[in-house]
Symmetry: C2
Subunit: 175 residues, 2 copies
Amino acid sequence: MELQLVNERRRPAYAAQRLAEFAERCRAGGLAVTPQRIAIIKVLLDSAEHPRADAICAAVRKQHPHVSLATVHRTLETLCEIGEARKVTMLHDSARYDGNLTPHHHVVCIKCRCIRDIEIPQLDRILAGRSELGEFTVLGSSLEIHALCERCGAKAAKRATGGVGRSQRKQKSSK
Amino acid sequence: MELQLVNERRRPAYAAQRLAEFAERCRAGGLAVTPQRIAIIKVLLDSAEHPRADAICAAVRKQHPHVSLATVHRTLETLCEIGEARKVTMLHDSARYDGNLTPHHHVVCIKCRCIRDIEIPQLDRILAGRSELGEFTVLGSSLEIHALCERCGAKAAKRATGGVGRSQRKQKSSK
DNA sequence: TAACCAGATGATAATTATTACCATCTAGGA
DNA sequence: TCCTAGATGGTAATAATTATCATCTGGTTA
């Protein structure tokens, strides 16, 4: 299977392009274009580290020392909501455990966060043949499929048809 | 690609088997076999919910009302270390963000938790063709490859050869 | 251009999950 | 049966995130 580390040399051009489009995309998503948001997306686009909120905040503060950590947290979530960023750690809220040791993967409902096991023997076979990846020594892997479960899908469909038309972005997942 | 939800009917037999082997496996892993550990693995094996520590604790307390939540947290981590359980949320400690919106996946070092992007166009193509999975509506997916980065792999190798031979289980990741 | 206001921010308190600590207990070997 | 390394319970401490709220400002409208 074709499988390779992303070339870091592509980053500057990609970041520049995304930054150029950022203001327009904010407006499209119904967001004000603030200096904080621009500073935060800039740091994120320039980083290869998949950083945490505190690291982004520290980097932003080099230019804008007044920025609040709460703003950074809020902004990152907001950017994810309008699709300008992606949270790598979908289920980071709390640790979840699995007693099933047989090779398997997971489907996760993005709303209620229920998880079910899935089997993909073909994928397991392909990955079992890989022991290194660039400078990394491969130990294992796990595919996480993001989905809506039956119940949450039904709710979303009902809201879409019978809804009162209020801003969709406001809907928070019911933890 | 073969890809299906795991059949829940298999669980009872699997759980019984694992439970029967549990004491022996604890000893093999250098762990005492305590009533708490047995109660915790039993709850975990009987659950399809990929539960959190507090849910496991609540279930355990139905039989052993005295069990501490701290013990449940510790035990779950310990079970993962000897390979009797698996943490679904490898990177749950804190949220990590990514500004790269092009389809890609991640390699994660299990020691230092550094993350690098990888591309697997073939996998993306396969998954893009899937819009439902049992009762789930598929939205996206993310493969997480667990690995050792160059630096951490080198450290581990040095410890293995020149080490003082103390219990490997004790080594905690340096956050 | 000026005035307005919904939404954004900063500062800080509150919450939540997890880990640290330590006195006590116990599994399992001598 | 005795002993001790390791396990546990109870609780304090920590760390990440979210909530709250007074203030501010981007962007629309008059």
